[in-house]
Symmetry: C2
Subunit: 231 residues, 2 copies
Amino acid sequence: MVKRKVANPLAFAVLGSLSERAMHPYEISTMLKARGKDMSIKLNYGSLYSVVAALEKHGFIEAVETLRDGNRPERTVYAITEAGGAEFQDWLAELLGKPEKEFSQLEAGLAYLPAFPPDRVVELLEQRADVLDAEIEQVEGTHASMAAKGLPRIFYVESELQLALLKTQVEFVRELARQIAADELEGSAFWRKGFELVEKLGTTPADMLKDPVKYFGEEFAWLQELPPEAK
Amino acid sequence: MVKRKVANPLAFAVLGSLSERAMHPYEISTMLKARGKDMSIKLNYGSLYSVVAALEKHGFIEAVETLRDGNRPERTVYAITEAGGAEFQDWLAELLGKPEKEFSQLEAGLAYLPAFPPDRVVELLEQRADVLDAEIEQVEGTHASMAAKGLPRIFYVESELQLALLKTQVEFVRELARQIAADELEGSAFWRKGFELVEKLGTTPADMLKDPVKYFGEEFAWLQELPPEAK
DNA sequence: CAACGAATACTCGATTTCGAGTAGTTGAGA
DNA sequence: TCTCAACTACTCGAAATCGAGTATTCGTTG
């Protein structure tokens, strides 16, 4: 797993596009959009041109001609090199075969759940679930229309994965919201009580964590010795 | 959804940590690790210090004291400001309530599946599935040991989400590999044939896409008019 | 008690990333 | 025929990112 000379996933898409035929950068961008690959690989013009330059610098692609059409900006057409083809294959094998840790914003948010009162969290999670439902419906619509046009699944498997993950997320979020609302989530008694204390007495969370028995009673003594540094 | 002045998720974790009590950056990093939050939010020292500087610049945190302990490097202790508290709350609400498009490497890889012969893809997907299984087992082990210590679920819900997503991914990958191996994936007949042609005749993919009927027969005429720019 | 690995607490600067801006060109409708 | 929005095709520089490096101190083991 040596670090790639050009690491932006957009570079992977550029190599993939140029594997098919020589193109100029803007043409790559329109092709990616036309094929919906920009749903799977973040496309940004600034990145596109710098990534193309980096690929050229490292010998993965090379300029084959420069066209000028009237007063329009020049278009430099690039072709993939042998080294570029090898890099693409190696990269693809890595993307498919080796899972790499990815961080999602929802995970980050969940990590700080107790910072909001339970009811607020439930409300926000339900809001997210509703938005996700709409997104899912939209993706399913796209699939239906692609299938109707006769485009076989192999051309949009990546979107099917996305759909599966969205569905898992929405299910998780709804279930979590339900459990919090029903006070079924372990630790939520403590959580609710904590917020009541803040409202009524103005105690700070830090104080409560320092002496949980005082604020929550004996059954919360475990708090003291739990996550290192949590006190 | 105004762009955040400091957008790195690590900044969110810094605000969250300082909401609890004042700390110096390195202490934040050890606390995040001790609590396993570094599994949900990417922690990198370079980013940590630049993010702290940016948060201070924008008035979300402020230095409260600078300690010197022998010849050790200075430790600057930071506290959260009122603006910082508001920013944290706003950010948390956004993370929980508003899903944002995220790009995964597997999706990127799947988008270029046809670049490899079917058998190679099956092999790679199975490789990924095996690694994922091991990861899942590990996460489940961690959960079991946390539960055994009495730590309630609310302190690791984020990891439960991660687990659910990993399971969905492994299921998807295994099923996809199965379908490809069994030639059940729509479009895979064309895919297999294409690779045989490349091996036997040395035809390039671009040629085949230009005149699919010639290479694949009448039943593949749809290829010509399908994804815009795909020809 | 010396020596060595682990932990502490950062620093540095070479890339990378990004989004907004620019400037000409077509095409469709009034 | 005029106009105005959408498209084409990039450019720019400010800000973010990152991982490797540094220098000190603590703990522990032979």
